[in-house]
């Protein structure tokens, strides 16, 4: 459960989850929505995948991510979004730059 809290504590990861609500997207498509480096995005994806909130599937050369959240996890994320939970000090992937 703590991995879920860690995953949704970061606004970038919450935005990734919000984007994936619409439809499954490739890593490139998702990265286009953020002004962060690809390794940083990749680290965010890893955190989300390890928390069991997204699933990754290979499609040719690209990796497609899709949402894999339970109802309570979605509600928790909605709550975090509403109250503006931002624990970025603890949440970003270790040793990664946040912007280009």
């Amino acid at each position: 459960m703590s991995s879920v809290f860690k995953a949704i504590a970061d606004p970038t990861r919450r935005r990734v989850l919000a984007l994936l609500r619409a439809r499954p997207m490739s890593a490139g498509e998702l990265a286009d929505h953020f002004e962060v480096s690809k390794p940083t995005m990749s680290a965010h994806f890893t955190v989300l995948r390890e928390a069991g909130l997204i699933d990754a599937a290979k499609n040719g050369k690209s990796i497609i991510y899709q949402l894999k959240m339970s109802v309570l996890e979605e509600a928790l994320m909605g709550l975090a979004q509403t109250v503006g939970l931002d624990l970025t000090g603890a949440a970003p992937p270790e040793g990664k730059e946040e912007t280009l």
Partner: protein, 190 residues
């Protein structure tokens, strides 16, 4: 030790306690058929639970743990009624408990439905529509399960059985409507 194994072990301990009580009562009051029945019914639950502990299927273990707990509590109610702890003609408490337990089963599985059903091929063109459908179904059934549980917990017991069906029927109707409408306009949903 996995979550399913812990849950099943706890449920089997509860079942074993009921079984021990039932066997004791069979010895003490052999003329009461209910105790024989409870002791006989509980034995296969214990055996199948113990067998399941050795297998590698955690989701099945969780489901069986829940079912075993419900059965153990029902049998405990039956024993308590036989011993006169609960008035013999008062079935409302046991009925209410069973209703709440069933409502919680719906909540539990509806909560996991969007997560477990996330096996849509993400590269398929209508993956977005299918994913939206799964999320919608999960949410609607989750809320219906909560409403069902609340009705069993709070409504007058004589009306609870009928009223508790309303949110479930409404949820199934909403899901059916959503399926029909999303098939009619697949492009808009994806």
């Amino acid at each position: 030790m996995t979550r399913g194994r812990i849950a099943l072990a706890a449920a089997l301990i509860a079942v074993a306690l009921v079984e021990a009580l039932a066997i004791t009562l069979v010895i003490l009051v052999p003329e009461k058929r209910a105790y024989w029945l409870i002791a006989g019914l509980t034995m296969p639950i214990l055996w199948s639970g113990a067998e399941l502990m050795r297998r590698n299927d955690d989701s099945l273990r969780l489901a069986v743990a829940y079912a075993a707990t419900i059965m153990a509590v029902c049998e405990a109610f039956a024993i308590a009624r036989g011993l006169g702890v609960i008035a013999p003609d008062d079935e409302s408490f046991a009925l209410r408990f069973l209703g709440i337990a069933c409502g919680l089963v719906i909540v539990f599985y509806a909560n996991l439905a969007p997560k477990k059903a996330a096996c849509v091929d993400p590269a398929s063109p209508d993956a977005g529509r299918k994913q939206a459908m799964q999320r919608y179904s999960g949410w609607v059934l989750f809320l219906a399960g909560l409403a069902n549980t609340a009705i069993w917990a709070l409504a007058p017991i004589k009306q609870a059985a009928l009223w508790s069906m309303v949110p479930i029927a409404a949820a199934l109707g909403l899901i059916a409507l959503h399926i029909v409408s999303s098939r009619a306009a697949p492009g808009e949903r994806a």
